[in-house]
Amino acid sequence: MKDNCLDIGIIQAFLDGELSHDETSRVTAHVALCDKCALMLADAEEESAIVFPALEREFNTLVPTQRLWSKINDSIQLEKENRPVWQKAWAFLRFSLTSPSMVAAASLLLVFGVFGGLLLNKSRNSVDNTPPMAARQAAPVTPTAVTPASTLNVDEREVPVEAPEVSNNHSPVIERAIFRPEVKRTQRAAPAESAPAAAAYMPGEESYIKTIATLKRSVDEQKESVLRPSERVAFERNMAVVNDTIEKMRVEVKRNPKNEAAKQILYSSYQNKIDLLNSVSQKEELVASLQ
């Protein structure tokens, strides 16, 4: 991650809340892993903390800034690009109808189009004596074309497409039948899968995981609004540390279930994770109570 460090523009946009959700997540994840960028972010935030109060009055004056101008222009451009096709077509048509030469050309095109269409239709009717494709498919099929289903694996088995029987007087055209693969009808074995998963947990581990999952859901919704950028970076960094420890200890315990030290660290790490997630919820509650 350190190869593609963030530039100061992106960091400033991140602080100003101008990045999209995905970009914000990307920056947060990067800063959590890159000390250089974390330092740069901290510096930028410190500068902002000094500059913002000093310039608060200027920020609140009602003068459209360059950024506002560019945003407005971008919006107009975007709106133009996103205009529906029929609107564009209508605009073109409206423009075209103002010129008499264009009207004449359009009329000619229309007339040619109508004649052309009529001619094509007539010629198709005369040629259309051959049997339809469905009838051709219904013709007798050589049995060798079908591989016996019993010799195939279940997944490879093919089922012939049933075609409607159409009688015609023309000589039969022998063609290989069209096959399509059978749709796999494997049922989701959710209960069967969850049973071994539950069995894979150590005693007490499942409750930790469930608690963490519940907390994580609520925290994921809150953290964007509750935590400052630098706090979010610290939070993600700590979460990465804890997750890393959990991952290592899980592997260790799986390898050696009698390793009590690894088990203890694993449980402590789960507790740390819960504490981390709880800290966000508690902060949110505190913020709400101090209104």
């Binding site: 109060p53 700590n238 290592k248 009590e260 030290a261 690894a262 505190l286 101090l290």
Partner: protein, 345 residues
């Protein structure tokens, strides 16, 4: 030309829309200093958009005092911002001085048994010029100075506050941002700084110190009663403890080092833990304890004469169990990704 006029119209409409929105939105900015008596408040480190402020606070300078019971419980249930200094004095009186902030009042929640002095007083802000919603009871000030009896218990809940408390009985502080500095607290501390450092000097009684993003430094701490415990936790920060005389110490950091310098008391239980960082202890040479040291990607060193009872080196994790001296205390040190060192004082 037509296009230009159209663009100009859009821009004009957008400007008007924006201007209307800004005017309609409550800014939450502090009103200008009208009387000029209040000291100008320092620039808030909080960015304006992050936490919408409760309302519009005027900048006044107010001082009030009230006669109270010596064991007063003084509560600041909502302080939006400011530097709070609380000092204990030998008078049965509470004095609060707010410079460059909102007006406030004392609200008596309970009186003593004799009924002649309050034992529980709340300090509430008066913000009658709040434009939206009910009147806020939050206090705001550039500088808030409080004098209380030395036997007072202080409870503060605040947003962006820097707090210093000196010579009182008990303290319970929770803040979202800002440092907490405590000195000469005689019967217990509970401090929770969301984003800030916690410093305690010469504190007694149970201590529960928690910070999400900050360091914890404690110098001279001891129990005021049997069984008082010491607990310190930070998510991102270093914990440094010196001269603690607790028999139950529980310390943890997720990404930060832990440093302990002090005695290992007989019968004590010491649990020091960090996920990413090292643990360094400096203990008297004659200390006696049984220890369990677990560490990964680091090393273990103990200067004291000791014997290793069990060793378990499996994978990246190393676990040691041993004994130093008489072994009357238990010491559990865990550094998931770091080293452990126990040095002689």
């Amino acid at each position: 030309m037509k296009k230009l006029i159209e663009n100009l119209m859009i821009v004009g409409a957008a400007s008007v829309f924006l201007a209307t929105g800004l005017l309609a939105q409550p800014t939450g900015r502090l009103a200008p200093d009208i009387d000029g008596a209040g000291a100008p408040s320092p620039p808030s480190p909080m960015r304006p958009s992050m936490f919408p402020r409760s309302g519009v606070f005027t900048r006044d300078t107010t001082e009030r005092s009230i006669k109270v019971d010596p064991a007063i419980n003084l509560e600041f249930s909502c302080v939006v911002e400011g530097n709070i200094r609380v000092n204990g004095w030998r008078r049965n009186e509470v004095r609060v001085f707010v410079a460059g902030g909102s007006k406030f009042a004392f609200r008596t929640a309970q009186e003593n048994i004799k009924g002649d002095a309050p034992v529980w007083v709340k300090v509430v802000g008066i913000n009658s010029d709040r434009r939206i919603g009910p009147d806020s009871e939050c206090l705001s000030g550039g500088s808030i100075e409080v004098d209380v009896p030395v036997g007072a218990s202080i409870r503060i809940r605040g947003r962006e506050i820097s707090t210093a408390v000196d010579t009182v009985k008990k303290v319970d502080i929770t803040s979202i941002g800002g440092d907490i500095s405590l000195r000469n607290i005689s019967a217990g501390i509970s401090a929770n700084a969301g984003r800030g450092d916690i410093t305690v000097e010469a504190g007694k009684g149970s201590m529960m110190l928690t910070t999400t993003e900050g360091n914890i430094v404690v110098f001279e701490g001891s129990p005021s009663d049997y069984g008082d415990i010491f607990k310190a936790n930070t998510h991102s920060g270093t914990i440094s403890l010196q001269s603690l005389e607790y028999r139950q110490v529980n310390v943890g950091s997720i990404s930060g080092s832990v440093s302990y310098s002090g005695p290992i008391l007989s019968g004590g239980s010491y649990n020091l833990r960090t996920s990413k960082g090292s643990i360094r202890m400096s203990v008297p040479a004659k200390s006696g304890f049984r220890f369990w040291a677990t560490y990964g990607y680091g090393s273990f060193a103990c200067d004291l004469p000791h014997e290793i009872i069990t060793e378990n080196f499996v994978g990246p994790l190393k676990a040691l169990a041993g004994k130093a001296g008489s072994g009357e205390a238990t010491l559990k040190v865990t550094a998931d990704n770091g080293s452990i060192a126990i040095r002689k004082q």
